[in-house]
Symmetry: none
Subunit: 282 residues, 2 copies
């Protein structure tokens, strides 16, 4: 991040020599990362000598390149003031600050969607759209998210059911799985021991399996699924964070709603109206 350097360059651009303008253009083109390189490398990338680079920064008013870097660091610290203020005043959780928690959650979300291929999301959406029934499964801690997913999808379409609630009836439920159905599996480490045999059995029903899991489980679960949407779940403690997974569920519902169009939204409106009517009767 080099905002103030960029501003100085912009203010002085016409007064720069040709070599200096080469440097200036490079910095304007790569504002975010150029200062992570040493000046020697910046000069090389711009196609000028080290001497020209040194004179360039001096021409802009800096005493030397170290001053440029120090200014950029100060600017970075100042850009996110809430993090610093939170970090300083915030409650310490697990030895970390609220700011650190937020940072990690933001990174989990960013990396999750950074790496999400649109064709993977589309494939998952298509499977859901075409399925006569959707079975949602989440074991242990993942059950809450499974319920959330089921509710999100049930608002938009019929035939969305939860598996594994009363585990004593799981076998009966598995017997109900049919071809063309979709199993929406939500699972984070540590994975339930029964998961693999359950998935192996489920596949004999010739249904499709869409799995939401963490990055580390991607390869393993890819073998047992038709589509895997991986999430980043890094945390400071208490097992994996499911914030990114919650957001992926939401995106999947949004994506389905967009594909299904008016009928999905109409269903959601109907359900809302039913609720209002039921509550009026209470």
């Amino acid at each position: 991040m080099a905002s103030r350097l960029v501003l100085r360059i912009q203010e002085n651009y016409d007064r720069l020599t040709a070599g200096e303008q080469k440097l200036a253009q490079l910095i304007l083109d790569r504002q975010d990362d150029i200062l992570t390189f040493p000046a020697t490398e910046i000069a090389r990338l711009a196609g000028v000598s080290k001497a020209t680079a040194a004179r360039f920064f001096q021409h802009l008013g800096y005493s030397d390149f170290n001053e440029v870097k120090a200014q950029a660091r100060e600017e970075r610290d100042r850009t996110a003031p809430y993090e610093m203020s939170l970090a300083q005043s915030g409650q310490v959780a697990m030895g970390r600050t609220i700011g650190a928690h937020l940072d990690l959650e933001l990174k989990n979300l960013t990396r999750t969607f950074e790496e999400m291929r649109s064709d993977t999301l589309a494939a998952a959406t298509d499977l859901i759209a075409d399925a006569p029934r959707i079975w949602v499964l989440g074991l242990g801690l993942d059950e809450g998210l499974a319920r959330y997913a089921r509710l999100q999808l049930a608002r938009l379409r019929h035939g969305v059911l939860l598996l594994g609630i009363g585990q004593s009836a799981l076998a009966e439920e598995l017997a109900m799985l049919g071809p063309k159905d979709v199993l929406l599996l939500i699972t984070l480490p540590p994975h339930a021991a029964m998961l693999k045999p359950l998935l192996s059995y489920a596949r004999t029903s010739r249904l499709s399996i869409v799995t939401l899991t963490d990055r580390g489980s991607l390869l393993e679960l890819q073998r047992l699924s038709d589509v895997v949407l991986p999430c980043h779940v890094a945390s400071f403690g208490l097992g994996p964070s499911n914030t990114a997974l919650a957001s992926v569920i939401r995106l999947l519902a949004l994506s389905y709603a967009a594909k299904a169009g008016a009928s999905a939204l109409q269903r959601s409106d109907i359900i809302a109206a039913i609720k209002e009517e039921i509550m009026d009767m209470s």
Copy 2:
């Protein structure tokens, strides 16, 4: 930005020597900017020698510090441009892109924690720590999150119960509420019509109410609660987004675990061990 370095540190933390842990802690505390400093300076900041720093990075699997910096640059390049590429090529959901979805989620998270007062989080944590029993309530769509919250807290302490599951038994459950208990309420708009009378009744039990809700409901629910932790829930459709609320639940659990200390973590370990044993018997 040093996400992968951070993950490597987290995976290996217990195997690091004391000097290496000093470096590790510094990097965890200052993930965003620490790699803008040379390794010599990082060593100085951590209070170790340059030799220790060099061995530390090698211990983590890097051939040298230059490789650490190169990886961080690559990561930054991979994180920044994707928003543009996703926005241009990504699946359109509800008229918005994956990039827009991510942006909105990031903003929800950022604003939620930016506005979170540490004293409010501490007050909620204290109430939970001191309560003989915690009742968790989420109606309708919020039920999934309520289950998630209950599971997170039940791993850390006894006496965490879910309200409102079989609504026909709700009256019986409400009769069980006692003084000094805490009701952890999770509710987003549209709020269930029964919520207000339910809360009014609950207060006659002289228990404390900790409410997680959206910003818009803050004033209204503040009158009925002891502590309110508001979340930003902006979305493009399908009602409010609960990604930030999921993360607040997680932070609350982390905060409680930090306060309760060893006993909470021990309980979590015990539960994990029980699960392993039960699964081995399956």
